[in-house]
């Protein structure tokens, strides 16, 4: 009985732990938003320079987003691997 309670407690900890990394998605959202927003405000000031910076925009977004994906990975690891 006590063992079962301990197992359920561990299960609960696992689910809480898997849920916590979703907060990392907020950080990725802020990062991507800042990049896209700054790109847009720059592009509206100087529209002729905007097409040449599309590659930089996507690279910046990819770098910011990677960290959000890492937190998703940790959630997956806690759910299915640990």
């Amino acid at each position: 009985m006590e063992l079962e309670a301990a197992a359920q407690f561990a299960q609960m900890g696992k689910f809480i732990g898997a849920g916590l990394p979703t907060m990392g998605l907020g950080g990725a959202g802020v990062g991507v938003g800042i990049i896209a927003g700054n790109f847009l405000s720059g592009a509206l000031r100087n529209p002729s320079a905007a097409p040449g910076q599309m590659a930089n925009l996507f690279v910046g977004i990819a770098f910011a987003e990677a960290l959000g994906i890492f937190s998703f990975l940790i959630a997956l690891l806690l759910m299915f691997a640990v």
Binding site: A55, F58, V59, E65
Partner: protein
């Protein structure tokens, strides 16, 4: 805890990523033909057919398949030349191969009942490690030991250079990790979200909303498939620039 109780979905959203042998048995060895192998082969065949058909006639006024092939070729060629400079153009065939393989794997994965090969880290990590090892070897071949100068930021004050060097080294070795996880994570998350939303369709009241939501998400996934292929290739070009262009510039 039983499986049914833990999810509550009729179709588990992660079931679509299970690797199954095509011909009998559950045993998977390195030579087993699985659904991953099949869909990778289909992607290669589709690319070959598109490019062979597209370049067969070579008309002045291009047909539809020819203009698709030409547009992709021109797009990637421009990207390689712009990002890596003139020196990097000779690595264009490799970058083009990577782009086409990832793009078509992503797009074929969006077909209903198909399998997304690029949603598996095992697939993308091979692609990313090839780029990482290739770039590292190329950098040492081209610049000799001077390639290590990439980690020694000469534009920074001397006092903080060792700290920066440490950070640079760490970020260099994290590259293949983020390079592969980004592609696999995006694809896996997107496809799982579609399945989770589709799972709500068992509730009759919600089903019209679900159909709309799945259609919208499908459009988003189409965008993600193309953008992630683009991002993977452009990051390959960025890494390649370090190798062929030497240190920071």
């Amino acid at each position: 805890m039983s499986e049914e109780a833990s999810t509550g979905f009729a179709i588990h959203p992660m079931d679509q990523f299970i690797v199954k042998p095509l011909f009998g048995g559950d045993h998977i060895a390195f030579y087993t033909v699985t659904n991953v192998t099949m869909w990778m082969a289909i992607a290669v065949v589709v690319i070959a057919v598109l490019l062979v058909l597209g370049t067969r006639r070579r008309a002045i006024v291009p047909s539809r398949s020819q203009s698709v092939a030409e547009l992709m070729y021109g797009f990637i060629h421009n990207m390689v030349e712009e990002v890596t400079g003139h020196e990097g153009v000779k690595y264009f065939p490799y970058v083009m191969t990577l782009f086409l393989f990832i793009l078509f794997s992503n797009l074929l994965g969006l077909l209903p009942m198909s399998f997304t090969t690029t949603s598996h880290v095992a697939v993308t990590v091979v692609l990313a490690l090839m780029v990482f090892l290739g770039v590292t070897i190329l950098g040492f071949v081209k610049n000799g030991i001077g390639f290590l100068g990439m980690f020694w930021v000469t534009s920074a004050p001397l006092a903080i250079r060792p700290v920066l060097a440490l950070i640079e080294v760490i970020s260099y070795f994290v590259r293949p990790v983020s390079h592969s996880i980004r592609l696999a994570g995006n694809l896996m998350a997107g496809h799982a979200v579609i399945k989770v939303i589709a799972g709500f369709a068992t509730l009759v009241v919600a089903s019209p909303v679900v159909i709309g939501a799945v259609t919208a998400l499908y459009g988003l996934e189409l965008l993600v498939a193309v953008v992630q292929a683009y991002v993977f290739t452009i990051l390959t070009c960025v890494y390649l620039r370090d190798a062929v262009g030497g240190a920071h510039h």
